[in-house]
Amino acid sequence: MPRRGRRMGPGAGPAPAEKAKDFKGAIKRLFKELKNFRILIYIALILAIAGSILSIIAPSRLSQITDKISEGLVVNRENLEKITTNITSSLGEITAGMQTSDLSNMDISQIPDEIKNSAFKEFEIDGTIISVNDQIEFLDKMSGIGEDMTPEEIYSKIDEMPESIQTVVKPFMDMDAITKIVVFLVCLYLCSALFTFIQSICMTDVANKFAKSLRSRISVKINKLPLRYFDKHQAGDILSRVTNDVDTIAQTMNQSLGTLVSSTTLFLGTIIMMFYTNWIMALTAIGASLIGFILMFVILGKSQKYFAQRQEELGNLNGHIEEIYSGLNVVKVYNGRKQANEKFDILNEKECNANRKSQFLSGLMQPIMNFIGNFGYVAVCIVGALLTMNDIISFGVIVAFITYVRLFTSPLSQIAQAMNSLQSTAAAGERVFEFIDEEEISDEKAVTKRLDKSKVKGEIEFQNVVFQYDNNDKPTINNFSAIAKPGQKVAIVGPTGAGKTTMVNLLMKFYDINSGDIKIDGVSTKELTRENVHELFTMVLQDTWLFNGTVKENIIYNGENIDDAKVEEICKVVGLHHFIKTLPHGYDSIISDNDSVSAGQRQLLTIARGMTQDAPFLILDEATSNVDTRTEEIVQRAMDKLTEGKTSFIIAHRLSTIKNADLILVMKDGNIIEQGNHDELIEKNGAYAELYNSQFEL
């Protein structure tokens, strides 16, 4: 019946769950989050309890069947006695003159038939007429029965009796009563199965929908976190929360909650039922199991230790394997394989030993559980037999207890297991909630201003901008001021780490500046929503980000009102059209991660995507650095098309690409050390001039 959850297989064993930092807190939180599913959970839990109760009731009914059947084994004493008294009284008349009253010692055959016929009278028991002849025959057979005969011999005598007597004396099997109980039990079992089924369905529903909502929340959360979060956390970590952790929660919750409730009910219910039925037997059953349980918990405690040890050894071994595999080239060239192998052997052997021990100990659980069951069985039978013989209990009680012992032993180990998986739930839940609770980017509800994309003139002013990354001890951008006039092409040059990309991040409002201001057409970006700012910019980055999808989807991306003709037109401008046409499905070809699309083509695709946006500002962050020189020319041309009439910011190492910029900002250590156009800067003969001239010195 509702004994769900995985059985403890010999190999599975109680692997130590990943421990939550704050188990209670995590579980509390989990229940809080489950509020929306309250009703379904309550239904499930009530059904679990109901199912358990039914499975406790069942054994007592089953024992009634056994009782009824065994009643059907016993000779109908009452009728036998009636026959005997009738015959004895008849005989009494005969023997009145013969002075023998002992029926069995009398030699019936010596009595003449006439006497018998006149003395014996037909009589009726339960509607069956016992004829005189039958009575005589009965008397005949009975004469051979002595005190020392075994029940089998007596029963075989009965089989030889005349039919009428057999009918009357034969054990009475109360088929009606048995059928009634069977029907009742069938209903009971069906109900119980139905309860279990509905309960599983409810919990599955809850678990999966909860998991789904968690995943959605994580997905939404990702886009609400400040970018600095991603500076500190790896993508893999977040990914594992979306999949592994959420999965763990769903699975373990599904298993543990139902099991915990039904097992506890079963456990308590069985104890109550046992004491209710017969306290001596109850004590016997519990006592017999107790010894086993103590043994089990001792082993469980021990094996936990070894499991932890195995987990640790496995971790060490895996660590070593990972280390060697990922540095295999170095290991080989340095002839470090011997060293690696030696360490591997040691770790491998340690793991093997730890594994052997934990495996063995956890494998003990099942046989011991079986033994407890059998031990309980025998104990119950012996004590039960004693009590039956003294007529304290009926045989059915023993049968009931045989089931109780079984019901009693299984939930405990299930409770232990459920607790274990609840630990995993808590640990996983903690990680998921930690992510969901992460601080979000500042709220923008108070922002009222809005710049219309089509009406923006295109002026940007940096006023004493200061910015510092969270984990840096000095500002990356220090007191940066500059003005970009509408339609200007602004180039930012400088060595790596000078803060060029940071400037882009600030412009896009990915990060909030510490002090100073950035103004678009005189409006501070602080007064604009991020969405509004993003709308005004087209951005093409060095790393070409494409997603799994068709070429067209990748180009249109989030854009609205972009038809196929427009996509094609843009691709022609960028010089992609021909390439796309060579793909198997043209614009509907799927681009996946490791495809035949080269770096240059990927870059062009991202540029095409940028062009669909048609924003007044443009940012190109080293958009050509991944591309070989021939492709760069094409990209360059495409970019020039892109920058026409727009205020653009270009970051590039190649000085030739920025020579025609209206404003060149030379950055170093977060400051602009020079600004002006190419000619002015060359004339100034400063850092830029040095930079530019060095090209020709070599």
Binding site: P2, G9, G11, L62, I65, T66, L73, P151, D159, V182, L185, T196, N208, K209, R215, S216, S219, N223, F230, E323, Y325, S326, G327, N329, V330, K332, G336, N341, F344, N348, E351, C352, N355, R356, K357, Q359, G363, L364, P367, N370, F375, V378, C381, M508, H534, M539, D543, W545, F547, Y557, N558, T606, R609, T629, R654, L655, K668, L691, S694, L698
Partner: protein, 588 residues
Amino acid sequence: MIKLLKNLRKKEWLLALICLILIVVQVWLELKMPDYMSEITVLVQSEGSQMSDIIHNGAYMLGCALGSLISAVIVGYIVANISSTFSMNIRKRLFNKIGDLATSEIKQFSTSSLITRTTNDITQIQMFIVMGLQLLIKAPITAVWAITKILNKSWQWSAITAIAVVILLSVIAVLIVIVMPRFKIVQRLIDNINCVTRENLTGIRVVRAFNAEKYQENKFEEVNNELTSKQLFNQKAFAVLSPTMYLVMYFLTLSIYFIGAYLIKDAMMTEKLSLFGDMVVFSSYAMQVIMSFLMLAMIFMMLPRAQVSAGRINEVLDTEITIKDGTIDKDTTDERGTVEFRNVSFKYPDADEYLLRNISFKAEKGETVAFIGSTGSGKSTLINLVPRFYDATEGEVLVDGVNVKDYKQEFLHNKLGYVSQKAVIFNDTVKNNVAYGDNGKGEITDEKVKKAIEVAQGKEFVEKMEKQYDTDMAQGGTNVSGGQKQRLSIARAIARDPEIYIFDDSFSALDYKTDSVLRKELKKYTKNATSLIVAQRIGTIMNADKILVLDNGKCVGFGKHKELLKSCEVYKQIALSQLSKEELDNAE
């Protein structure tokens, strides 16, 4: 799976045989128990039976239970032994095999997949062996034995048991047929979820710049919905299993009793008692039969997963080693420190296109030869031919005048000091990281380690650390910066005292100043050593004796910096694209 099991050794087969015998004993004992049970039942039932008889039978039954427990414990011990040893040996074989694989093969499998194969997949197999050795042997024996025990009792009972087994197995079969294909779909959808999330994470700036948060969320929601609905279907389908299982088992017991009641009713008086006993026995044997069929079904559900793991392990074990070790283990020529490429071409075994075409050059003793070109031009592949990470498809690579294929690898490697693109740091002390491996010249002394670190410009930061040269490095060197890691891995090469240095873009994480100082110091320290340098930065290679310019796997220029600036268009373009950066930081 079977193929993998051939790896079991004789001793393990012997143990498995003992296991088999013990399991037979165990089954025998377990099947004996119901006999005693029925005996006890009858005794309890009938009047006038002696208490001593009951205790007697109880003792026998307990004896059986204890015997079965003991044999189960021994089996458990043996199984734990076999499975642990087996997985240890397989893991060892796999580890060794992977050590022998060529870089191209490793790339094909991908390092992370190889790691999973050595860890996860082996654990899967191990679990299966544990389950298999016990259940796979026990279940059929129990089933057959129990069936023979009950077969001649009463055909009605046998029939009802058969029906129960058939119902159970068909429920399981239907479930497997319906659910299994969907499991694969679920797996794919989980991959999709991962993919969409990864996309969002890697492209977070683009997503935000395009105000595409909603777009991503919708995309995620679509996959999420699909996954949830498929998973719900699967799990709901499986929710049928457990109630059905119990229902069938309870109904079976009930039916046996009900049929029993009729049988007893109609029986002769003499047969009644024994029939009653039979009924009790039968119901417990029937349970055994059902349970063993369930166990078998469980194994067959587990088998595919183990099969997949076994396949993945075998795939690695069966990979033919393409890099065969040579025989030469001492110098046979007078040449020292030379590297020569003779018309070398290279392509991956199954690829159509060549990564390198007809490359020829010679690096003389003490020379520095640099390789430059755009990404994907084949620079790294080229120098990886020297330590035989790959073997040239055509042409010859000679070190000290001998084809690298003829050297015993260990001997060849002793001549080389290789520094990889991505610095490799082991989970060990700084000292041991630098003194790593074996250079065939005896142990690398602490003195040498210190000197090597000093040359590699690492002295300052190492000595600033709390335990200096004994500081423990985290795995992957996460407790030091990228530049520091690179300096340590360069120091590792220096400490070996090699004839030939190979730097595979090993200076990229260093700032320009450190880069140039390091190279100057290195030059001073190793006057006679030959260096092969792959670099992205012009500044790093400007002063090389020879520069080889690669473009799409072809050599498009060979000579000195100044010459190439004039003669080689590709080189000139690369140089020009970088000068801005160079000039700001580089004092040269």
